[in-house]
Point group: C2
Chain length 494, copies 2
């Protein structure tokens, strides 16, 4: 392989990237199937199939010949997309090769075992039972971070797997500003109106009707049920959204719009990046910004409430748009992250970020984590935690060894608000269009400023390109204040 010229090397590299892209798509299909269609007894077999796919993809991504192609191509004078393919391939290759196979396997085992232990510990609300598994995950994460000995802080090395280029120091700035203003805003928010509870049948009618109005067509999309809503793109023209229906709830439609945002991102990446290593969303934070934009800025926009109300009415549940909107934006601080309201939600993330940074970089011992959690909930959300099951044990991420993942949830909220302001600055206020469910301008602006670029730009450079400014907390805080105002005003009526 070492004797290939640049022309043949780029062809070989592109072919390998296409292969990896196809294997990723098959893995997504298998995961989608597992969560929506697979009969339960298929689980052990599916686990083996996914492990094989993962192992094979890793082997093909990190094979010696890939390194040889990259050496050749870096010495050649490439430009355009080819140069970008090589740049990102080098980054991925080096990161994947730095982790010894044995360590990767041990992390995988600890993750799987950690989740089993956590499930039992959460059921018993017994943090002590979980602590050894968590300690093992923390130690392995530090060991993993040490593989990247290029001057990165340990936490930054972990963060790079989710949001390459972001650093803990930057997050401390942004989240610091956020918390400073959001904590009093949440504390002073008026009580929201009572929840609006739509029956499941009305939700099942409303969700596809709303999705159809924002661009979900049968020939390239599916909508299915899942216990934990998610979406996948299996190839750029096959997008699959899921949601969950609970009686007396409205969130199925909001969850579906959230997942639509993720799926639309993948669909609108430039076609010429398809089946290359650049052909997907660039980072977890940018992906979450897309889901949050459709969830918070479209789905919870007051002008869009009549569209939602119409869909619920057609499904047999008549509701006033204002009542529905007030219920969707009510501030109601919660013990549990996944049922948090859209205003206080990022504070749950600020807490997790502070704690995992302290765990990884040495200041916080695992044994002291529950107390630190409970202090943080009091400080940030004014909530007393009655038991660890509803506190430090509520999420699976740390049990799975995923440190550095949480920040993207809050960054998504912040970036979404920042993009929305830039979008309305460029394309004008969207109120009238949203009242007609016309989202053409939104889709087009996102395609042009975010989606089309795939992985060409990392999180913060892409935000700068799209909005003219680095990431900041102010747009989200303005959005949060507008929601608190809407919730409060309607609360008077409700």
């Amino acid at each position: 392989m070492g004797t290939l010229g640049p022309a043949m090397s780029i062809e070989a590299l592109r072919e390998r990237m296409a292969e990896l892209s196809d294997l990723t798509a098959l893995g997504r299909l298998a995961a989608w199937d597992q969560r929506t269609m697979m009969p339960p007894a298929g689980a052990p077999g599916r686990g083996e199939q996914l492990a094989t796919l993962e192992r094979l993809a890793h082997e093909r991504a990190t094979a010696d010949e890939v390194g040889a192609w990259l050496d050749h191509l870096e010495a050649a004078d490439l430009n355009g997309i080819d140069a970008e393919i090589v740049r990102i391939a080098r980054r991925d290759f080096d990161r994947a090769r730095r982790v010894p196979g044995e360590l990767a396997a041990e992390i995988e085992r600890a993750s799987s075992e950690g989740q089993d232990v956590w499930q039992a510990a959460r059921a018993a609300s017994d943090f002590a039972a979980f602590a050894p598994a968590l300690r093992r995950n923390v130690d392995l994460a530090r060991e993993y971070a040490a593989c990247f000995d290029d001057g990165l802080r340990p936490y930054d090395a972990l963060l790079a797997d989710y949001d390459f280029g972001l650093e803990a120091a930057r997050l401390q700035d942004v989240f610091g500003e956020l918390a400073e203003q959001l904590v009093p805003l949440v504390a002073e928010a008026p009580d929201g109106p009572p929840p609006v509870g739509a029956p499941v049948a009305a939700q099942r009618a409303a969700v596809p009707a709303v999705l159809a109005r924002i661009g979900v067509a049968d020939d390239g999309w599916r909508l299915d049920d899942a216990a934990h809503p998610f979406s996948v793109g299996i190839g750029r023209a096959d997008s699959r959204v899921t949601t969950r229906y609970e009686d007396g709830d409205l969130l199925s439609v909001i969850a579906a719009m959230h997942e639509f945002g993720h799926a639309l991102y993948e669909r609108q990446v430039a076609p010429e990046l398809s089946r290359t290593n650049l052909g997907s969303g660039t980072s977890m934070a940018m992906h979450e910004s897309q889901s949050k934009l459709w969830e918070n800025h479209v789905g919870r926009h007051p002008a869009f409430a009549p569209v939602l109300a119409e869909a619920f009415a057609a499904g047999g549940f008549p509701v006033e748009p204002a009542t529905l909107h007030a219920a969707l934006v009510a501030v109601r601080p919660s013990l549990i992250r996944v049922s948090a309201d859209p205003v206080s939600y990022p504070l749950h993330i600020v807490l997790r970020f502070e704690l995992e940074l302290a765990l990884i970089e040495g200041g916080l011992d695992v044994a002291d984590l529950p107390a630190a959690w409970n202090d943080g909930m009091r400080r940030l959300l004014g909530i007393e935690v009655p038991e660890d099951a509803a506190g430090v044990l509520q999420d699976t991420h740390w049990a799975a060894g995923a440190f550095g993942y949480f920040p993207s949830y809050a960054l998504g909220c912040l970036i979404a608000a920042q993009l929305w302001e830039a979008l309305e600055r460029d394309a004008g206020p969207q109120d009238e269009a949203l009242a007609r469910a016309d989202v053409t301008a939104i889709r087009n602006w996102l395609a042009e400023h975010v989606h089309t670029h795939g992985r060409l730009y990392d999180t913060e450079p892409l935000v700068e390109r799209a909005t003219g400014r680095g990431m900041e907390a102010a747009p989200f805080l303005r959005h949060a204040r507008s929601l608190v105002g809407a919730s409060g005003s309607c609360s008077g009526r409700g």
Copy 2:
């Protein structure tokens, strides 16, 4: 790799076989999804994903290291399952390595293009438009057969891909005896009763109810719709059956039982063969014998008719068991293979076998095929073919370059009848059990005598083991006579 000892080689070989088994399962999942769930716009992407999977699996199956492991292992003194794994791995490896990559790619292209040309030609009933593509497929099939220069007749080399070990001369014997007695039986069969047409809603209720009674449980099975019914096993505990519902028909339930037979075969292979190269059904003919057994000998058994009638009645379509049974076994010679009745069906296959043997081994020119087809339909089924669309152009197999595939459809009918006689000889008559939908004895007998062996025995040795005799036509002919009797007797009442 050449320096591994036998112990490490068998471990390496088993690991590679497990990997290939997982890749096959993922390919089946992707194919199932494509035919049941995938939004239509996903088709081009899915084509790429499947081609990548196929290419990668071929590369891993035929890699040099596999040959080195096999060389080592054949020199070692293995026994038990390990020895069988090596024996079948050597066979598969040698067959796959004998075909030059360029020829395989050309066959793939010709198959894909041939199917496109065929679709247009069939729509226009224009055989001349299809002839060049068919001629190309015939030439390539001869070239492919020539890769196996170990004294096999060309047709036998093709047959080996579907039913290893069977030969054209053997099929000529068996099919000759079959045709000699079946042609007059069909010609003299009384007209069947008028069809029984159940509405789709009743069929949709009846199909899962009947499947549940013969052992389909939600935790390890799925039932879905497909335009062309099929089944897949995605791992041994995840079986997926499909069927098609047409108004005024009964065949959805029969098609579902047919597919159940295929799926049950894969589920009952011995667990210790799982994820080895022995862990699936042994051949196309044996697989078809399992589907035909459940279709013809259970589904169309007179004692099972009350079970079917009860399921239709519960779905809102009351019908007399005798009326229903007479409709399911009525002899009504048909132009089209896929709508043939269970008695005359194998004659459609005898015709195709005769013709493809003549095409491949040189006696018949493509240009003369339509006339030969029409002659054969007259001779075997007493039917005049009005146009090629309803004659020689009806099936996709030759357009796809699949020669040697058709015989398994008739062999399946014959072997099913032979197995059924052996089963009733061993386990006693099943009439009373079938009247209660108790298929335990049937499932157990099939597991012990057929399923558990996976690929350990080829078609005819397995038939001999299970029934004490080589393949023969007599059991099917006895079965056919019983159906003609039942159909005729009811026709008098109908």
